[in-house]
C-alpha cells in the first residue's frame, strides 16, 4: 500500500460530490432547453379569437419583432404575468401576439375584457396543435421573433419585471440592432 493510494477514497468522494454538484446546479429539471431557438417560427393556420372566421398564418407574424405569448384562462401564472404584458405593450409598443392555448374561446374573450387585452392579434389553439409545433409543455410560454420570424428567445414561465430587465429587453435590443 503506497502512500499515494491512501488518497484514492477521498478523491473518489470528491469526484462524486463534484459531479452531483454540477449536475444538480446546472438547471431546473423542469426547464427544458428550447429546441426551437434560432429556428423559424413554424408554419401554421388557425382562426383568430375574436373573428373566428378569419384565418391567420405565419405571415401575420412577420415584419417587426413580435412577442408570441402562449396563455390560457385556466393558467394562474398567465393571470400573474398579465399586468407585465400590458405594461410592456404600453411602454415599449412591442407587438404582442397571443396564442390562446387549449382554452374555451368565449371564456378567453370574457377574461380579456375583465383584465385588459395586451395582444395585437390572438390565435386560437383549442386542441394544442400549434402548441405541439412550438414545443409548448405548459403555459405560459413566450417566444420573441425577429422581423424574419426567427425565434431568438424563449421563456417558459411568467414574464415579470426581472425577466424583462435581464432577458427579454436585452434580446429585443439585439433584434432591433440586427
Amino acid at each position: 500500500m503506497s502512500r499515494a493510494s491512501l488518497f484514492i477514497p477521498i478523491s473518489v468522494f470528491a469526484l462524486i460530490i463534484g459531479v452531483g454538484w454540477i449536475g444538480f446546479s446546472l438547471n431546473d429539471p423542469h426547464e427544458l432547453p428550447s429546441a426551437l431557438l434560432g429556428k423559424p417560427f413554424p408554419d401554421f393556420e388557425a382562426p383568430r379569437l375574436h373573428e373566428p372566421d378569419q384565418r391567420v398564418s405565419r405571415d401575420d407574424l412577420l415584419g417587426e419583432p413580435v412577442l408570441v405569448n402562449v396563455w390560457a384562462t385556466w393558467c394562474p401564472t398567465c393571470a400573474a404575468e398579465h399586468d407585465e404584458l400590458l405594461r410592456i405593450r404600453d411602454e415599449t409598443g412591442l407587438r404582442i401576439v397571443g396564442v390562446n392555448y387549449k382554452d374555451d374561446a368565449a371564456k378567453a374573450r370574457r377574461w380579456l375584457e375583465a383584465y385588459g387585452n395586451p395582444y395585437d392579434l390572438i390565435i386560437q389553439d383549442p386542441d394544442g396543435s400549434l402548441g405541439v409545433e412550438l414545443g409548448v409543455y405548459g403555459a405560459p410560454e413566450s417566444f420573441l421573433l425577429d422581423r424574419a420570424g426567427t425565434i431568438v428567445y424563449k421563456r417558459v414561465g411568467d414574464i415579470n419585471p426581472r425577466i424583462w430587465r435581464d432577458e427579454l429587453r436585452p434580446a429585443l435590443m439585439q433584434v432591433m440592432d440586427g
Binding site: A35, V136, Y137
Partner: protein, 151 residues
C-alpha cells in the same frame, strides 16, 4: 414471514394500481403493425412535463396531446419511427428521448458504465495478483493455539 408477505402484497397492489392508472386512449389504426409501432413509440418517448414518465404512462394533458400527435403522424402522415422521433426532438429537444443521442456532450453518459467496469476489473485484477500470505509454520500454529487458549 407474515411481514414479508405483507410487503409483497403491498408491492403487488401498487403495481396493479399503476397499471390501472395508465391512461388509455381509443385510437383507430389501419393495421396491427401501426398499433404496435404506436405502443412502442409512446413507451420510449418521455413526457416533457413529468420528469420520469413516458408518454404511455402519463395522464398529463401534454402527454395526451403528444400521443394524439404520434397517432396522427403514423396514420395520416405515414412517417417512419425515426422521422417521428426526429419530429418530436426538433420541437421538444433531447429531453423527450429516453435514449439520448451519442454526441460530444453526451459521450460521458454513454461511456461511464464501460469506464466503471474497467476500473472495477483493474481493482479486482490487482487484488488477485497480490501474493497470498504463506501458511503458518508448525511453530507459529503452536504459538497461536497457546494465545487463543490462554483465556
Amino acid at each position: 414471514m407474515a411481514e414479508r408477505l405483507g410487503v409483497l402484497l403491498l408491492a403487488f397492489a401498487w403495481a396493479t394500481a399503476a397499471l390501472a392508472a395508465s391512461p388509455v386512449d381509443l385510437y383507430d389504426f389501419d393495421s396491427d403493425a401501426q398499433e404496435s409501432r404506436y405502443r412502442a413509440l409512446i413507451a420510449e418517448l418521455r413526457c416533457p412535463k413529468c420528469l420520469n414518465t413516458n408518454l404511455a404512462g402519463s395522464d398529463a394533458p401534454i402527454a395526451q396531446d403528444l400521443r394524439r400527435t404520434v397517432h396522427r403522424l403514423i396514420t395520416e402522415e405515414g412517417m417512419s419511427d425515426d422521422e417521428i422521433l426526429a419530429f418530436l426532438q426538433a420541437r421538444y429537444g433531447d429531453f423527450v428521448l429516453y435514449d439520448p443521442p451519442f454526441r460530444p456532450d453526451t459521450w460521458v453518459l454513454w461511456l461511464a458504465p464501460v469506464l466503471f467496469l474497467a476500473a472495477g476489473a483493474l481493482v479486482l485484477w490487482r487484488m488477485l495478483r497480490q501474493p497470498r500470505p504463506a501458511a503458518l509454520s508448525e511453530q507459529e500454529s503452536a504459538e497461536l493455539r497457546r494465545i487463543l487458549e490462554r483465556d
